[in-house]
Symmetry: D2
Subunit: 290 residues, 4 copies
Amino acid sequence: MKDIGFVGLGVMGAPMAAHLLQAGFAVRVWNRTAEKAEALLAQGARRATTPAEAAAGAEAIITMVADDEALRHVVHGSDGILYSLSAGGVHLTMGTVSPQLLRQLTHEHRECGTHLLAAPVFGSKESAVGKKLWAVVGGQAAAFERCRPVIEAMCAGGTYLGEDPGAAAQMKLIINMLISTAVAALVQAFTLGRAGGLAADKLTEVVRRVFASPLYERYGTRLEKRDFDVYFPLKLMLKDLRLVLEMAAAAGVPLPHAAATREMVVAAIGRGFADADAAASLLRTWEATG
Amino acid sequence: MKDIGFVGLGVMGAPMAAHLLQAGFAVRVWNRTAEKAEALLAQGARRATTPAEAAAGAEAIITMVADDEALRHVVHGSDGILYSLSAGGVHLTMGTVSPQLLRQLTHEHRECGTHLLAAPVFGSKESAVGKKLWAVVGGQAAAFERCRPVIEAMCAGGTYLGEDPGAAAQMKLIINMLISTAVAALVQAFTLGRAGGLAADKLTEVVRRVFASPLYERYGTRLEKRDFDVYFPLKLMLKDLRLVLEMAAAAGVPLPHAAATREMVVAAIGRGFADADAAASLLRTWEATG
Amino acid sequence: MKDIGFVGLGVMGAPMAAHLLQAGFAVRVWNRTAEKAEALLAQGARRATTPAEAAAGAEAIITMVADDEALRHVVHGSDGILYSLSAGGVHLTMGTVSPQLLRQLTHEHRECGTHLLAAPVFGSKESAVGKKLWAVVGGQAAAFERCRPVIEAMCAGGTYLGEDPGAAAQMKLIINMLISTAVAALVQAFTLGRAGGLAADKLTEVVRRVFASPLYERYGTRLEKRDFDVYFPLKLMLKDLRLVLEMAAAAGVPLPHAAATREMVVAAIGRGFADADAAASLLRTWEATG
Amino acid sequence: MKDIGFVGLGVMGAPMAAHLLQAGFAVRVWNRTAEKAEALLAQGARRATTPAEAAAGAEAIITMVADDEALRHVVHGSDGILYSLSAGGVHLTMGTVSPQLLRQLTHEHRECGTHLLAAPVFGSKESAVGKKLWAVVGGQAAAFERCRPVIEAMCAGGTYLGEDPGAAAQMKLIINMLISTAVAALVQAFTLGRAGGLAADKLTEVVRRVFASPLYERYGTRLEKRDFDVYFPLKLMLKDLRLVLEMAAAAGVPLPHAAATREMVVAAIGRGFADADAAASLLRTWEATG
């Protein structure tokens, strides 16, 4: 596999596409706001003027877009990738979208003689830059084998979940639920610790000792240091929570913690933090709540 | 420091006392149900017939009991340790109790010329056996220095939080809240994964990759394997949640996730699981809920 | 106003259309499953074979359908009412749908020279039969004046909220949130009372004395008597909760009680109660939860 | 029955005692802060210098105090009513306390040859003044018959629940849970309505039409008018929620809505509203939350 299309050059997509270039793939890129492609063009990417053009002739077209609506937009329509991808080509979708959409697209791709492979990734901007993302993969096994070098050029590795792309979306949403729950609980821990006079660095230290988790340490340190950079925008956390709650509602499984996190996020949205960092916004909201 | 009293030989206390014997301390033990002391007597411990007798002549008396009521019981009264501990002696309390009780006991010990040092520990039975507990310590610095060899004989280490024993209780309750939240979310994740057809071992694998936390791995594996051994009884989780919610109410900090966990625990209590393992009970309750 | 079209002859729509016939209106009816129209035809209604046909020539076309998707279906498309309603005609929508959809339809109707008047109603089957519904009305004041006799033929009355049809949807969703919260709390009250040995009829009596509300009395009596008839299907409660939670998320207002009700509903959905009565299903689910 | 003792002359107790005087009872009053008795003395009450003195020689001693601790305080100890009440006398407790405390006091009174009759009341200051309180009564039937004229002098009526005084506490706590849930939901409704541009008076009007409940109307009007008088202090709502949640935990019945209300109350406590009106404080907190 050599020729790759890449659609979606946001905070995650841009460093992922850069890894592909560094690994020697020929990459044609498209982004809704074209300026975001400049840095990649300087690194050897070619520009496509539509998603369809990015997909035309590619062995695999990667989409790294924010939500169901954005994915539908780049797949369907006259400029979409669905009809321009060559027979046998693979659409490798790496953003976090709903299982239902993936199941619908699986069907549509099959009718076009192309394949959908879902490989949503865990990790934030830093992990994308450091090639530390972890993918969960669902789709045809042969398509996965062909795309494995592409995935490995961008990620530390991946877990293959079987033939159903929807399973990858389910897994992604479930794990994201665990992460957002942990973040929400950490925010409450730091707020309560502060109210009670506990030193924030001591709290981080004990979290490090008890959880021994890089993820908890990363969030703990940010909350301790009051680091307000945007690692993951709040509105995407809201989207993920909506998707997992809908998935759980359809399955008849109550998720009271995700529901509680969602209401915290809504309060932070009400404070104008939709585009701010999720963890930082929840902290500022919670400190102001009581 | 050589002579130690030890009160409370439950699943945690028994292996902790055994470590003290192995480290060469002379240990006098007392437990509400006397038979639990047998194994330790065989390892060289001496038996005390009351908490007061365990404390009499000891440089430090350790209490490892389940809750405020139990701690009050072994401290106060004619058989309690408060008046039998020699001047300058240290009461090292290692169970999870309320900050208020510790602040009250600090005062009472001071009036008796003795010291209260709080060092509640993180970890379950396995960690106690494997000397992998982590302590959070509050109390007089000099008392901590004198007790450090005792603590290090039982734990992998500890974080010193300053002169207020109540701070150690606060920290313990806050971290326990993080843990019970994580467990509750994992239970929901496994229930939802199962409802959606995800293989439980794949879920554990992705949890391992994303959190890279021995604690998440331990709980994930137990939930995956449906391991119903009693590591931590549900009723103690309820007690900890009650304490942290009361502490947070006094501080004016809402804890919606702890509140949600508490209601899950209550549902499991309603199913008769008070003495069963917390994680396992929550899983069985949640699978039956929908 | 004389000629009315009526689309949607469910548990609510059928008795509402019957009231129009009794009041002397000429009514042309359409329903997805045609048999449901039989009783009304016998009372003098005429049958339309499509929504468009029901609207053609009518001064007002009433839609009483379950959700956004159903409303879109009868409005848009070749068989939809949008292009068949005569210029100046009023589309009176009385089901519970999203404010966004109403705002979109307002615009589309305006372009067609027709009017959208939203008048969602409070009350269940019994209230519809007994003409005890209460409407909340949004839309052009002149259209409201013209439709007032129609609304008054079906309802005890209505509250006019101004020119924006979306405001009627907002009001409907907010009040439905109050009702579902009250029902969820009553379910918990009866479950807890039963667990504690309180006689259910005493609980109903005290609820009657304290709230003095026909609505509380109705639900209280049903829960006391374990009346499992279908007054309002659970899946519609889930839909309403989803809509109000989305509306609140967009406004940045947390709704923890609606979120909690939603998770109760999800648990009941998981037990297979989607089409069963909301209050009864929640009761059976809650009694089995603990 | 003629001679009554009355302990606890707060916002509720004072007008209740006044009704007894107006009905011709001889009333001896005691209050922790003695000045609050002045107005009643002017109306013919006699002053007692201790709870014991209020009870001595009385056929019934009424206690109207805020919580378990206050009730224990006036019952036990050398100045308490327990040993001064004459054999056959009735202790009529009308505040909201825990079922456990009432069951303990029942036992203690029985040993003294006296009776405990629990008759907690529904209604706020206004209802107490207007003699519109409603009592729920538990205790010996004969004691209830003897006290009936006393209760009817202060209340619109009461519901007798049987021999167990604890049942009255259970009923009171369950109904208070319904009320606080309704208030919390109304607060969210007004906040959401305001965010969406709905006129507050229209919301009150629709609430009046749909619920037709004086209780909803009272709260709705206060929230609409932003009436910040203290009708029921927030800290008492927190106490009631704590009691009902503990009762439900013991029974194994989850109360997610009470838990959610509790966290709202905690946020309002954090804003310094402990002594402010519950409904008003929740409104101000919620409006500031998002």
